[in-house]
Every structure is written in structure tokens, then in C-alpha cells.
């Protein structure tokens, strides 16, 4: 394979316009690596193969094996050595091939990367972005679809980002790479190629910790993130058409720290809230958002906050997953019930 063949259109120099999320992430990685010599990438099959989803396609050819390298098959080794890379002045972007395999490197993520600053009294830091795809609706084998973001709320020292569209993915990734602390960057496989979006060619940065109001409304707020944003929008549209209700949809974008200000302001306005995620319900992002609403604006609440989530079981086999994941139907039920007086 020649270098030319291996270069993805998105990483060539034509002005980009409509990009898939894969292309947007690839572009963002390229721009950040060009900008900052310290950025390096490591992981399984990210080099020659360009990643199992081609997210890193062409980057090894462009930046060389010194800065984009394949590792042995060992997730703890990937994160553990990335910690050393980060402490010694680089900005590593380790990829875990599927987020479910972060559990293999869990100690290195939560006891090591997340705590190096704390443990050393601020002397050493671990700026790194741990990228990993995840998410249902694509009929993957076991452990490839599981949502992991909720687990990281109980393990302080990490930020967690999860974009819902190509534009956000590019800007949030830039912010994550710039961030002085470790960031988990989760990519919904379902969104990788499902739609294209206008993405400016130049670099831009979307701040971490800020939710986005995707659709304004005054009667009820739906909080979602990742692939569940479009599911929520569809449900909101259905119910609005039926009932005329004005529904706000908020894309949380950063799972930690959650944007409490935006969450609170919206529920103070609407008085009703539905939270949607793929992850199981127990102890998930939805529980924390509910607790935040309870703490900050209980008196504005007209109805219980509803959680529409994956069920409290492991993520099921491909043939059973459609009814595990929140559907527009289930979200619409929750919206309708929450709108009732």
C-alpha cells in the first residue's frame, strides 16, 4: 500500500465540508498532531490498519511510527505506558479498541492516570485522552456495545466526554487534547458513519463541561447524549406534533463534570425532565442528573424526573439489543407521562 492510497480524503488538504464523525475525529487528530509535537497516539491496530473503524486512517503514514504506533494486545500496558509518556512531557492519545475493554485497564485509568496529580501533590500530571468506541445498535459481539461513562463518576480525577455529532466531536476532541488532565473520550459507533455534517476545516475548540441546548422549549426538558440525542429529538418531535408541547432537548456532551448550570436553568424553566441514556439505569448519569435537579430546583419540579435507559442487565446479544436500547417510542412514553398533570 502506498502512502497516497492510505490517506483518507479527510486528512488531505482540500477544504472539508460535510464530514462523518469518523472523518471529523480523524481531522481533529491530524490538526492537533500538526499543532503540537507532543501529541502521540498508541493502541491496537491504529497504525498500519488505521483503526478497526478507520478513525486513525492515514495518520501513521503522515506522522510516522514514532508518533503513531501499534502496541501489543494489552490494555493495561497501553494506559500504563501512556501514563509514563504523559509524565515525561508527551500528550498521549491511547485508544482502547472498544470501551468495554477499558475494564481490563481499569486500575491504570482510575487509580493511576486519574490520581497522579493528586498523589504527587501536583508535581506530576497525566494529560492524556483515552479514546474508545462503544454503543449499541450495530450488532457487535459481547462487550463491544457497553456504555462505560457512568462508572467514571465514582472515580474522581477524570473528565468524560461523549459527542453526539461530527461538529462537536472535532471541537471537543481539541479541548480534550489541550486539557491538562486525563479525559475519557467516548465515541458512539452508531454515529460514526450514520450522517454527515458541515464541519469547518480550521481548528476550533468547544469547551468541556458545557452542555448544548439542541432544541429550545418551555414545557419539558429531555437530557441526552451521544446517539440518544437523535432518539430524543425524534420522540420530542412526535409528542410535539401530537400535543403541541414545547420540548427542550439538551445534549449533555460532557458527562463529567456535568453542566449543572444548564441543567438547572432548563428545569427551572420547564419544570419537567426526562433523561435518556443507553447505559443501565442504576447509578448511571441519569441518577446523578436527577440528584442535581433534586438539589438545585426541586421546587420547580412538577412531575418526577423520568429515566429512559438501558435496562439493569448486561448489554444483550445482537438479536436482543433493539429492545434493550431506549427507542423513540419509550422516550415518547416518558415525555407524555411527564407532561401529564
Amino acid at each position: 500500500m502506498t502512502i497516497a492510497e492510505n490517506v483518507n480524503p479527510a486528512v488531505s488538504h482540500k477544504p472539508a465540508s460535510k464530514l462523518t464523525m469518523i472523518e471529523a475525529i480523524n481531522q481533529s487528530l491530524r490538526i492537533e498532531m500538526e499543532r503540537d509535537e507532543r501529541v502521540v497516539m498508541l493502541g491496537e491496530d491504529i497504525g498500519r490498519n488505521g483503526g478497526v473503524f478507520r478513525v486513525t486512517d492515514g495518520l501513521q503514514a503522515r506522522f510516522g511510527e514514532r508518533r503513531v504506533f501499534d502496541t501489543p494486545l494489552a490494555e493495561s500496558g497501553i494506559i500504563g505506558t501512556a501514563i509514563g509518556l504523559a509524565i515525561n512531557g508527551l500528550r498521549p492519545i491511547p485508544e482502547i479498541q472498544f470501551a468495554g475493554f477499558m475494564f481490563v485497564s481499569f486500575n491504570q485509568i482510575v487509580s493511576q492516570a486519574a490520581r497522579m496529580r493528586f498523589r504527587s501533590g501536583g508535581m506530576y500530571t497525566c494529560p492524556m485522552v483515552i479514546r474508545a468506541p462503544f454503543g449499541g445498535g450495530v450488532r457487535t459481539p459481547e462487550m463491544h456495545s457497553d456504555s462505560v461513562e457512568g462508572v467514571f463518576l465514582q472515580t474522581p480525577g477524570l473528565k468524560v466526554v461523549l459527542p453526539s455529532n461530527p461538529y462537536d466531536a472535532k471541537g471537543l476532541l481539541a479541548a480534550a487534547i489541550e486539557d491538562p488532565d486525563p479525559v475519557i473520550f467516548l465515541e458512539n459507533i452508531k454515529l460514526y458513519r450514520s450522517f454527515k455534517q458541515e464541519v469547518p476545516e480550521e481548528r476550533y475548540v468547544l469547551p468541556l463541561g458545557k452542555a448544548a441546548v439542541v432544541q429550545e422549549g418551555s414545557d419539558l426538558t429531555v437530557f441526552a447524549y451521544g446517539a440518544m440525542v437523535s432518539v430524543s429529538l425524534e420522540a420530542a418531535k412526535q409528542v410535539s406534533q401530537e400535543t403541541g408541547a414545547s420540548i427542550e432537548v439538551i445534549d449533555l456532551r460532557t458527562m463529567w463534570p456535568l453542566d449543572e448550570e444548564t441543567i438547572t436553568a432548563s428545569v427551572e424553566k420547564t419544570g419537567r425532565a426526562v433523561i435518556v441514556h443507553e447505559a443501565p439505569r442504576a447509578g448511571g448519569i441519569g441518577a446523578e442528573v436527577t440528584a442535581i435537579i433534586n438539589e438545585n430546583c426541586l421546587y420547580s419540579l412538577l412531575k418526577p424526573v423520568a429515566r429512559v435507559t438501558g435496562y439493569d442487565t448486561p448489554f444483550p446479544s445482537p438479536q436482543l439489543e433493539d429492545l434493550y436500547l431506549p427507542t423513540p417510542r419509550r422516550v415518547a412514553w416518558a415525555i407524555r407521562e411527564t407532561l401529564e398533570d
Binding site: 501489543p72 494486545l73 493495561s76 481490563v104 438479536q319 436482543l320 433493539d322
Partner: protein
């Protein structure tokens, strides 16, 4: 540095039948029937692998990792085992599992995207493992349990060359050694871990050498030589059953196909390798051996493969005719007893199933 320990030269792979089908070692003492059953099992492995790939292309199966080229490594490990023995392997080990007694139809359900069917007994084979390397620890634990209970059973843990880099696989070797577990740990070195060649997976010249640092005797074997694999496994099983502890076996073989139906090996793999390994095909080699000794002929082999084809097709037909498992099943297999919350969640799913059914009826 004077007394630096350098990697010792390892013996070249143990071989009984070279790739020209000639005997170069002492074959195991097997009846013609047994030899034929090994050939049959290798064909069944290849044909089922091809079948599932075809089904995947037609949308009738989920992602699948073909194992064409690895039939001797699979069958040679599975065939010598006894019913009470245990096996824990990855997605690529359907050949070893079938040789151990798992039925064609039981895999089909899994690769079609369902949990293993209720009726299947598993034949002491753990569900195929997706999280690379973890199952080798399970195998060692199964073996330790057999020893604790005084059972006459051993356990086999199989993983790939890539898996050997995972901490778990190394911990498994160590536990096996420390507890003298009646276990066999098999490294099926098929040259690649997706796009990572074996040479970049570790700088040790062989994976068998890993045994040294854990005090586990190990052997490097031509994994495309069914007789060598069978004999080595049999002897390791005897050792284990006699209380002499674990053995590590590295099987040198080659993944002739893509990593999975989602992979494109032309992106990373030189074509010449395929040529090299095609000449070392495990089935052709053993076929020549059987033909040369008049144990099998063209006609016999045709009957054999036709029977396998029928068996596979019938199994496919059977499983595809079964009513699909309800997604509600998830509430019954999370815990032995669903929690009150799972019961309430089941009601939500039933409501959704009912609405879908009603909608479909409306359409019909």
C-alpha cells in the same frame, strides 16, 4: 555483561507429519477410524467456518472470525479430551469445541446473535470468550477445582498469539505453575492479532519460551500437523491427569482468512505469506497421509464432506426454524431470580413488544 541470561535457543517446532505429508516423527497410536474422525472433524471445522461467513454476508449471522487454516490446531487440541474435561477458548475456537463435543447448532445460535440455546449442555466448554485472554484464568481455575475435588478431569485454556500479551494470560501461567493445576494452556499462534504480526507482539523468539519464567514446561509444535498436535495434547493431558501439573503448548499455524467478517487483511498483510502457508495446509497434508495409506480415497472423502454439509445445513435449517428468543430473556439470565426492579423493567419491555406486535398486525 558476562552472565547476562540470553534467550536460549529453542528447539524447532515438533513435527510428525511434514507439509509434504511425510512422516518425520513417531505418530500417535491411532486406529484408522480415529484417524478418519480427525479428518472429518477438520473438514467440519472448515466447512462450518465457511458456512457462517456465507451466512454473515447474507445478513443471517453476526460478526464471525473464520478459522480456515487452523483446523489441525483446533481438532488436535479438542479430540484427545474426555467428556469430563473442561475447555475455555475464544471466538476462534469452534473447531476445538466441536472436537470436544459441542454441536454445530449450538454455535449457530451464538453466531446468529443469540445467547446459547437453553437446551445446549455446553459439554464443559465455556461460552466463547470475547475479552481477549481472560478465559485462560478460568481454565486454570476449572483445573484447580478438579484437583481440589479430586475429579479425574483436566482443563484446557486456549488463546491466540495476541492474547499472550495480556496480563491475565501470564497470571494464568503463574497460577497453573504454583498450584500444579491439571491444565493445558494452548497458545494458538496464527501469526496475527488483527493487523499486528506475531513478530511485533513480543520480542521473544517463541511464545513457548514464556513457560520458562513461570516454571511451566512448554513445547513448540507445528500447529498444522494434526498428528503432532494430537500427540502433544494427549501427552500433556496424561501428565495433567497423573498429577504432574500444567503444560504450555505453542501451536504454529496461520489464519488464512480475515480476522473477522469486518476485517480487510489486504490493508496490512503481505500476499506472499498466504502462498507460504497454503502449501502447509493442515487438511491437504493429512489427506495425503490418509490417501497414501489407503485409509481414505476420493470417494470416501466425498461421502465424508457431503455428510458434513448435510449436517450443517440441517443444523442451520433447524435453528432458523426455531421461534426467536424473546428479548425478555435478559431479565431471567441476569440473576437466578430477577430483582423487583428487573420485574418492573420487564413490564416496560412487554409493553413495547405489545405495541410493536400491534403495529405489525395493523400493517398485516
Amino acid at each position: 555483561m558476562d552472565t547476562l541470561i540470553e534467550t536460549p535457543a529453542l528447539d524447532s517446532p515438533y513435527q510428525i507429519l511434514n507439509h509434504h505429508g511425510q512422516l518425520v516423527g513417531e505418530p500417535p497410536n491411532l486406529t484408522p477410524e480415529k484417524l478418519l474422525s480427525l479428518h472429518d472433524a477438520m473438514w467440519r471445522t472448515r466447512m462450518l467456518s465457511d458456512k457462517i461467513v456465507a451466512m454473515q454476508r447474507q445478513g443471517r449471522a453476526a460478526t464471525f472470525g473464520p478459522l480456515v487454516g487452523q483446523e489441525a490446531a483446533a481438532v488436535g487440541v479438542g479430540a484427545p479430551l474426555k467428556p469430563q474435561d473442561w475447555m475455555a477458548g475464544s471466538y476462534r475456537e469452534i473447531g476445538a469445541y466441536m472436537a470436544k463435543g459441542v454441536r454445530v447448532q449450538d454455535f449457530l445460535d451464538v453466531y446468529r446473535g443469540f445467547p446459547p440455546p437453553k437446551g445446549s449442555n455446553g459439554n464443559n466448554c465455556l461460552p466463547i470468550q470475547i475479552v481477549i485472554g481472560t478465559q485462560v484464568l478460568h481454565a486454570v481455575g476449572l483445573a484447580m477445582a478438579a484437583k481440589i475435588k479430586g475429579d479425574d478431569a483436566i482443563a484446557v485454556g486456549i488463546c491466540g498469539d495476541g492474547a499472550t500479551s495480556e496480563g491475565d494470560v501470564n497470571e494464568a501461567l503463574n497460577f497453573a505453575g504454583v498450584f500444579k493445576a491439571p491444565a493445558i494452556i494452548v497458545f494458538t499462534n496464527n501469526g496475527w492479532a488483527i493487523s499486528m504480526p506475531r513478530s511485533q507482539q513480543t520480542s521473544a523468539p517463541t511464545l513457548a519460551a514464556r513457560g520458562i519464567g513461570f516454571g511451566v514446561p512448554s513445547k513448540l509444535v507445528d500447529g498444522n500437523d494434526i498428528l503432532a498436535v494430537y500427540k502433544t495434547t494427549s501427552e500433556a493431558a496424561e501428565r495433567a491427569r497423573a498429577g504432574d501439573g500444567p503444560t504450555l503448548i505453542e501451536l504454529l499455524t496461520y489464519r488464512m482468512g480475515a480476522h473477522t467478517t469486518a476485517d480487510d487483511p489486504t490493508r496490512y498483510r503481505p500476499k506472499e505469506e498466504l502462498e507460504y502457508w497454503k502449501e502447509r495446509d493442515p487438511i491437504s497434508r493429512f489427506r495425503k497421509y490418509l490417501f497414501d495409506r489407503n485409509i481414505l480415497d476420493e470417494k470416501g472423502e466425498k461421502l465424508m464432506t457431503e455428510a458434513i454439509e448435510t449436517e450443517i445445513n440441517e443444523a442451520v435449517e433447524y435453528v432458523e426454524k426455531q421461534p426467536p428468543l424473546s428479548p425478555e430473556a435478559i431479565f431471567d439470565i441476569t440473576f437466578e431470580q430477577p430483582t423487583p426492579r428487573l420485574q418492573r423493567q420487564r413490564v416496560v419491555m412487554r409493553r413495547e413488544l405489545a405495541e410493536i406486535a400491534a403495529k405489525n398486525e395493523g400493517k398485516a
